[in-house]
């Protein structure tokens, strides 16, 4: 154990202390959010209020009231925003998966002149910040009549995303070419090789691409802010901001309940797939 050389018992205790401290600090905001969402307004909005709900029974009662109010009062229609976000995310994920699976094949398995250059250009596009192109994009979408619809938020996804293409291409490269050759001898063309060999073997990578893109869309704020104009088309991210800005004094207990509703799906997805998720992200740094 190189890392522990000469560290001894004290070193190990210190390490666990550091690990626990980091973990607690990391999850503190989420716990705080959950705790405030289970408190009545008087407690959440008071300078001397307790950090935790008064009792488990009180937490259930006040939590039910807060979440009921967020989901039911209609002032800010969270159930609708939840549905909108889900629709946009699913359309977008479907597009990214289908298009990136195809494009990555062109970069991994079809040898052609200019492929390397094209791939570098693809990587470079990841470096272009959205704010730089958002004004002209708004103008383009406006002239297409897409502003005020969901289309600007999911149609571009059907043309592939650079990060997803990169991730899938890296994964295809790890699949032995002998399998391609065998399929070719059996009479498969490019499409056959992709659908019968690469796609079945890349399902874990495809899942990671779908997950990462789902979270990206779920969390996106600036895109919906720029492209959505009607309040009944808002996503959760915009709904949360609306909740904060439309009232004079912020009802923090309700706002934290609304945040919880937005956070829980991504947190669950992450916990269910954390291993492949983390592996997917670390792949992006391998080439350096």
């Amino acid at each position: 154990m190189i890392a522990g050389t000469g560290a001894g018992r004290f070193g190990r205790a210190g390490m666990y202390l550091a690990l626990a401290l980091c973990a607690v600090i990391a999850v503190l905001p989420v716990l705080y959010m959950a705790s405030i969402s289970l408190q009545p307004a008087e407690q959440a909005m008071s300078e001397s209020g307790l950090l935790l709900p008064a009792s488990p029974a009180a937490a259930v009662r006040d939590g039910a009231a807060n979440y009921g109010s967020v989901l039911g009062d209609g002032a800010v229609d969270f159930p609708l925003y939840f549905r909108n976000t889900l629709v946009i995310a699913l359309l977008s994920v479907a597009g990214v998966v289908v298009s990136s699976v195809i494009v990555a094949y062109g970069f991994a398995r079809v040898p052609w002149r200019g492929r390397g250059t094209c791939f570098l250009v693809l990587l470079a596009t990841m470096m272009i910040p959205f704010p730089v192109v958002m004004v002209p994009l708004f103008v383009i979408f406006r002239s297409l009549g897409w502003i005020g619809t969901f289309m600007p938020l999911w149609i571009p996804a059907w043309f592939g995303s650079a990060f997803s293409i990169f991730l899938l291409r890296q994964f295809y490269l790890t699949i032995p070419r002998e399998l391609d050759e065998a399929a070719r001898i059996d009479g498969c063309g490019h499409l056959g090789i992709l659908l019968r060999i690469l796609v079945p073997l890349s399902l874990p990578a495809i899942l990671v691409v779908a997950l990462l893109h789902f979270m990206y869309v779920w969390n996106d704020f600036l895109g919906p802010l720029v492209f959505l104009t009607h309040r009944d088309q808002y996503t959760l991210a915009l709904g949360l901001e609306l909740y904060m800005s439309r009232l004079g004094t912020t009802p923090w207990n309700l706002l934290m309940a609304a945040s919880t509703i937005m956070v829980v799906p991504v947190l669950l997805l992450f916990l269910l797939a954390q291993r492949s998720f983390i592996e997917g992200i670390s792949t992006s740094g391998v080439k350096g």
Partner: protein
């Protein structure tokens, strides 16, 4: 034959090529053209040449946004680099329940930034917030996080410590690739913990550091959501960043021409900074394959 192959290759990547042309190249080109016009979307654009660019030189808001964005970049990137490498080193040691620790530390990074910024807005709150109440309990008086110009910037920068996940995970993977025998050889030669860090670990992971710093630069240069939610750019424009001005110019003031010019400058600035980093990186980064 090569011609046919090229056509096949282009056909396979054609979805991306079309998307690249429509949603990247076209906006960049149009952005440059719009930046030389006066345009409010209501009437046809009027060509004004370089007027917007000269106007920028004397625009106080541009000065504030430039200063804030640069300060943010210069402080955030070293801070995040040090913290994410330290966390990766801690989480790469053999420990019980290591998967659990990693998931806990990574978890806040998957949260929507809007939600995280909302939570932190409450945590930083002068009266209700847990941070100042915690400081009070230890006898300290917390600052007015959002009423003081300096502390507002500090608040936004510090929140980034909760989203180091992706960088940390990339460092974690690269630490796994540092050959053990190098560490062992250094240990036998009597090199201490610090010496091994500086002379073995950091040079071995330096390409990954450069990668993460560049990604961090691109992210920091477009910071928008957190200040938009937490401070709204205030107090007194102390946390007003470049992207917020692009947004406001276009969608609040309807000045598409000026907003496009701001976008063009942002793009060029990021491009130049990235190239600069790559050139500096060349001198400091150690590529294993390049040892002769």
């Amino acid at each position: 034959m090569t011609w046919k192959r090229t056509m096949t290759g282009l056909l396979w990547i054609s979805p991306w090529l079309i998307g690249f042309a429509c949603f990247t190249v076209l906006p960049l080109v149009l952005g440059v053209w719009y930046s030389m016009t006066d345009w409010t979307l209501l009437e046809a654009p009027v060509a004004v040449g370089m007027e917007h660019y000269t106007r920028m030189l004397h625009d106080e808001v541009v000065h504030a946004a430039t200063r804030n964005t640069l300060v943010y970049i210069v402080i955030t990137i070293p801070l995040l680099t040090v913290v994410s490498i330290a966390l990766a080193m801690l989480l790469s040691r053999p420990a019980r329940f290591i998967a659990f620790w990693r998931v806990a530390v990574f978890a806040p990074s998957v949260l929507p930034l809007v939600a995280l910024a909302t939570i932190f807005k409450l945590m930083y709150d002068g009266e209700l917030g847990v941070i100042n109440r915690g400081l009070e309990a230890t006898g300290l008086r917390g600052p007015g996080w959002f009423t003081d110009e300096t502390w507002a910037m500090v608040a936004i920068i510090l929140m980034n410590l909760w989203v180091v996940g992706p960088a940390m995970v990339i460092y974690l993977a690269s630490l796994r690739d540092v050959p053990r025998d190098l560490h062992e050889a250094a240990s036998i030669d009597g090199v201490g913990w610090w010496g091994r860090l500086v002379h073995v670990t950091l040079p071995m992971i330096s390409p990954v550091i450069l990668f993460n710093v560049i990604i961090g630069l691109v992210n920091a240069a477009q910071v928008f959501v957190v200040p938009y939610i937490m401070t709204g750019g205030g107090p007194n424009r102390a946390t007003y960043f470049w992207s917020m001005y692009v947004y406001d110019a276009a969608f609040r003031y309807g000045d598409m021409g000026y907003a496009s010019a701001l976008g063009v400058v942002q793009f060029l600035a990021i491009l130049l900074l990235t190239i600069g980093l790559l050139l500096i990186g060349r001198r400091f980064v150690f590529y294993r394959g390049a040892v002769s």
